[in-house]
Symmetry: C2
Subunit: 328 residues, 2 copies
Amino acid sequence: MRVAIIGAAGFLGRKLAARLAAKGRLAGRRVEALSLLDNVVPAAPPGAPFPVACLAGDVTDSALLARAIPPGTDAVFHLAAVVSAQAEAEFDLGLRANLDGTRAVLEAARAAGGSPAFVFTSSVAAYGGPLPEVVGDDTILTPQNSYGAQKAMGELLVADYARRGFVRGVAIRLPTIIVRPGRPNRAASGFASAIVREPLLGLDTVCPVPPELAMWVASPLLAVDWLLHAASLDPAALGARRSVNPPGISASMGEIAAALAGIAGNEAAGRIRWERDPAIERIVAAWPARFDAARARELGFAQQPPVAEIIRAFIAEDLGPTRAERGL
Amino acid sequence: MRVAIIGAAGFLGRKLAARLAAKGRLAGRRVEALSLLDNVVPAAPPGAPFPVACLAGDVTDSALLARAIPPGTDAVFHLAAVVSAQAEAEFDLGLRANLDGTRAVLEAARAAGGSPAFVFTSSVAAYGGPLPEVVGDDTILTPQNSYGAQKAMGELLVADYARRGFVRGVAIRLPTIIVRPGRPNRAASGFASAIVREPLLGLDTVCPVPPELAMWVASPLLAVDWLLHAASLDPAALGARRSVNPPGISASMGEIAAALAGIAGNEAAGRIRWERDPAIERIVAAWPARFDAARARELGFAQQPPVAEIIRAFIAEDLGPTRAERGL
């Protein structure tokens, strides 16, 4: 089968490509070709047992997308996005990348023919406004940030393209993914990774929200599991609802700091300075921190293990490369 | 104040313009200028006590929209849409008119400055999928037709433009409006008007759904009341949720036929032939037929009176003109 990853230079895209290269299979079939597209040239995963095409350019460029998603493509992963704090700061850019971009990728998948699997990374940021204590599969989406509004529109597009048979579409509302390796990005939620990553690198960091603020989180490992599982789903199992809240976990920043102290010692956790930033807090406090992910479990999405395991996996897999990348 | 109506040649647009002309005021202020835009030249309402500019062209044409919504505009009513059956039959056209169009109108309102009131006509077609018996203000939107998906995306755009202060935006999820005068259009729900209008004109008509199928309906009179009320609302009263389910009524096609028989006799109601059309039924049966419009009532939206009053108002206001238009 032929696979395309749009947004392949981001950290989830890289991990997804690496996993496909390591397994060589998707949805029970052998991967025969992989296209990677991003606004910078994505790196081909080392040791891939199939040819990899690496393309760079704008996510709204239809000619480029037609090369990334040629006829015969069986699965498209659309991860490209302008992240939350940037979409809030640069409204027009966010709308263009996140709404027009998603539409252009869907159009390319439709033009490729054969109704490919189409996995879209939505976000818990699509929720907002007055919310129940525990968000369920029936909770209304009332986003209170532009990134979330654009993701919610992307979900509607994916669902309608799927309903019409253009793609076999699924949207996964990803929790905040921790621990992101490398340098901080412009996601408003970046601190949730930084409070683990920076102390482990021996660096000080600021947590801009209070310790009791909880977030719905998941590891990159589980996020990749979910994306692969989504591409394998029978569309009939999804019925009329094409968006899924996967089973992440709820963790307060204090709990994450305590788990870090348990693994790396109090000195590491002491490198977190708690200093509120109202602009960041306003965005992330509006996101739901607890979900009943009943439907995702029924659909076979794996359960995220506790925070300590997330930190251990980061140390095992990403701390070394991150240290090297940061020149530490 | 300056007012613009986009989609002003449609039947609701014409009634809205006529009401503004008759009242001369909106939100407690005197109307000083009115712009009307549609894809055909809209007619200026007779006897308007203010200048009326009538413009024709494409709803995605920014230069044209800038003329319709000049700086200093205080209120924009955006009613232009490709309707449900057409948006289902012509996917790309629907997306262009209903999504790109709404975005272009919002951009024009934003460019005009001063955060004008922005009233967007969404639809109950934005709901679908498994639904509770009674739809509430918290019910999730899972549209099962392209028109509804495009309206739901329009709501998200309006809410985000409003949240950012570009407009004082409100979306009204209009029920099926009966009785539409004139000729049938390509709304899937057109029969709900036709089963009243055509018999009153002495013509036979087909109802493509069974008598027990209920719909959520409202009269054009109430719809215009709601649009005017929406333009007068204090945005603070709306809070995080910018979409409103107004208080229409639930009526089965059998109840509408019985009300018609009560007013115009059994002979009139006998002109309805009941003949199911699965394509139409599939679309409208997915729309919710009953709402708890608690929030709209709190916000001061008027309650729709029963069906018999809707029919009597149609006979008093629209039957004569419709008869003339149809050459009967």
